[in-house]
């Protein structure tokens, strides 16, 4: 289902990083 | 006084035939409506005030017209003559339009466009007239000062199905979506405007120019985090100093959020929403996008 895959691809790009050093610093 | 009134009315009709509108208005305004001798009902007084205002409007004298329409506004609530009340509303809307109180005019035109009763003393209000009122409402809204109040009226008009059938709809759409308007679109819009809507302002720009520049400035604030005044001027088709001045005025009037760094020559556009709320909003958008994906999957039986 190409349409779904494109939608999911777009969604994946929008996920918050949550895993970068900068995020960890700010979160702590 | 009765005879004087009759003579004045007769002379006024002669002036109207000669298209001497202001003279006709002056002739009628000489009728003493507050006379202690004659008993005059409110409907008669209202009809005279509205007529005088209409005549002054024909000569583009909005100031004099406004004087009489304001007198009429004290009388209209007691009037049972629906035809006359309608004439009052139309006249008031046109006066506001001519006085460049565009947002107020837009609301009144919009109300007129939604007229339910169409027949008044043998005269029929046809669909085209309602459409004209709707178009006038859209035009006035576009010309009104950009800001939150105008945005609300734009939303109402944009969501009104009838507007999608108007010739002016494309520009309404762009203004509602806060998109930058380019010169050809503005020129096409200008062709449909009345002279007072293209009038020159004290700073040598026209009413239309100011409305378009302010709209485009607001549109730019949706696209940019910050922009130099030089680039902003190029985008708006004006000098950088003028761009700064207009931006400063809009910020001080709370019609746009932002701050100006004169040293660096940059405007920083702000938002109504603070950073954490924006973060929350982005997460909500992701959740919505996820829901959409799940809905699409369900529709495909996955």
């Amino acid at each position: 289902e190409h349409s779904l895959l494109r939608q999911i691809s777009s969604l994946v790009r929008r996920l918050p990083a949550i895993d970068s050093p900068k995020f960890q610093d700010d979160f702590l | 006084e009765e005879q004087v009134a009759v003579i004045r009315e007769g002379l006024a009709e002669v002036y109207v035939d000669e298209e001497e509108w202001s003279k006709a208005a002056q002739m009628l305004s000489g009728i003493d409506l507050e006379s202690g001798i004659r008993v005059l009902d409110d409907t008669y007084k209202l009809s005279k005030c509205v007529k005088i205002a209409q005549l002054y409007l024909e000569d583009d004298d909005a100031v004099s017209a406004e004087t009489y329409i304001k007198k009429a506004s004290f009388l209209v609530n007691n009037s049972k003559d629906e035809g006359l009340n309608l004439q009052y509303k139309v006249c008031y809307a046109r006066i506001l339009d001519m006085k460049r109180k565009f947002l107020e005019a837009a609301l009144r035109y919009y109300e007129l466009s939604q007229l339910e009763k169409r027949e008044f003393e043998g005269r029929q209000v046809d669909e085209e007239e309602l459409q004209q009122a709707l178009t006038a409402a859209v035009t006035c809204t576009i010309l009104a000062a950009a800001g939150p109040q105008r945005s609300r009226v734009l939303a109402t008009l944009y969501k009104d199905e009838r507007c999608s059938k108007l010739n002016i709809y494309p520009i309404l759409q762009k203004v509602y979506l806060e998109r930058i308007l380019r010169k050809p679109e503005v020129d096409a819009f200008a062709e449909e405007l009345k002279p007072h809507q293209k009038a020159l302002l004290p700073d040598n720009s026209t009413v239309l120019d100011r409305a378009m520049i302010e709209h485009n400035l607001l549109s730019a604030s949706k696209l940019y985090t910050n922009i130099s005044f030089e680039e902003l001027g190029a985008l708006l088709g004006i000098g950088s100093q003028k761009a700064e001045k207009i931006a400063a005025r809009m910020i001080s009037e709370d019609r746009m959020k932002g701050s100006i760094d004169q040293v660096e020559g940059i405007i920083h556009f702000g938002t109504d929403i603070e950073e954490l709320q924006q973060w929350d909003q982005q997460i909500m958008n992701i959740c919505q996008a996820l829901n959409d994906v799940l809905d699409s999957m369900a529709k495909k039986g996955l």
Partner: protein, 219 residues
């Protein structure tokens, strides 16, 4: 979602046409699709038998063109321009729009210099006009232009057709995000428990002090 909804009808139309178009007609269909201003999805068309049939024929370069529009960028086109059909203005614009989407896949903040290089645009005004009119207003991208930092911050970018091998990476990203989110939630829960227990201790300690003070007053 909006962009997908808008182009789903178009995709269906082109797919329907591809069922009967063969050879030269299929090649023309490819030109039409890659020129259409509202179409940014080509995987469906690429999987149609009559389109795949173009491989090894005199129109094979049109199949390559369609693959380029499905997965490639403007830079890819320039590298292989001699083997591909010449692009019309609409096609050129579309390929540049698709290039922006590809760049947005890997970077949330796109420097102007990178964009100008990748899109062969020589000045900032032209670049910003392209991003505003052809990307943001076209609904394929949402974001903010930052002139001071000379970059474009991407908030949303429409998805392109998946390249071979991209699916696994996507699944892995989703799995990573899931586990990171779970860990983060656990950490937050722990912090909440810690805050609650500290609060209880504080209240207990405060009560002890007050009780002692009260006792002293009585005595």
């Amino acid at each position: 979602m909006e962009i997908e909804q808008r182009q789903s009808e178009l995709v269906e139309q082109f797919v329907a046409l591809a069922k009967t178009a063969r050879g030269r007609a299929a090649a023309e269909l490819i030109v039409h699709a890659t020129s259409h201003r509202s179409l940014f999805a080509f995987a469906e068309l690429l999987s149609m038998p009559h389109i795949i049939e173009l491989q090894g024929t005199e129109h094979a370069n049109f199949l390559d063109l369609l693959r380029l529009f499905a997965h490639g960028t403007w830079t890819d086109y320039k590298k292989n321009a001699s083997q591909l059909p010449t692009l019309g203005i609409d096609q050129e614009l579309k390929l540049k729009q698709l290039t922006v989407l590809t760049l947005a896949e890997t970077m949330k903040v796109l420097p102007y210099d990178l964009l100008m290089k990748q899109l062969d645009i020589s000045n900032v005004r032209q670049l910003e006009d392209m991003l505003i009119n052809d990307c943001m207003y076209a609904g394929i991208v949402k974001g903010k232009l930052d002139q001071r930092r000379r970059c474009f911050e991407v908030q949303f970018a429409a998805g392109r057709d998946l390249r071979p091998g991209q699916l696994e990476a996507m699944i892995q990203t989703l799995a990573n995000c899931l586990s990171t989110s779970d860990n983060l939630l656990l950490t937050i829960e722990e912090k909440i428990k810690w805050a609650d227990s500290m609060n209880e201790l504080n209240l207990k300690h405060k009560k002890e002090i007050e009780d002692k003070a009260e006792e002293l007053r009585k005595n």
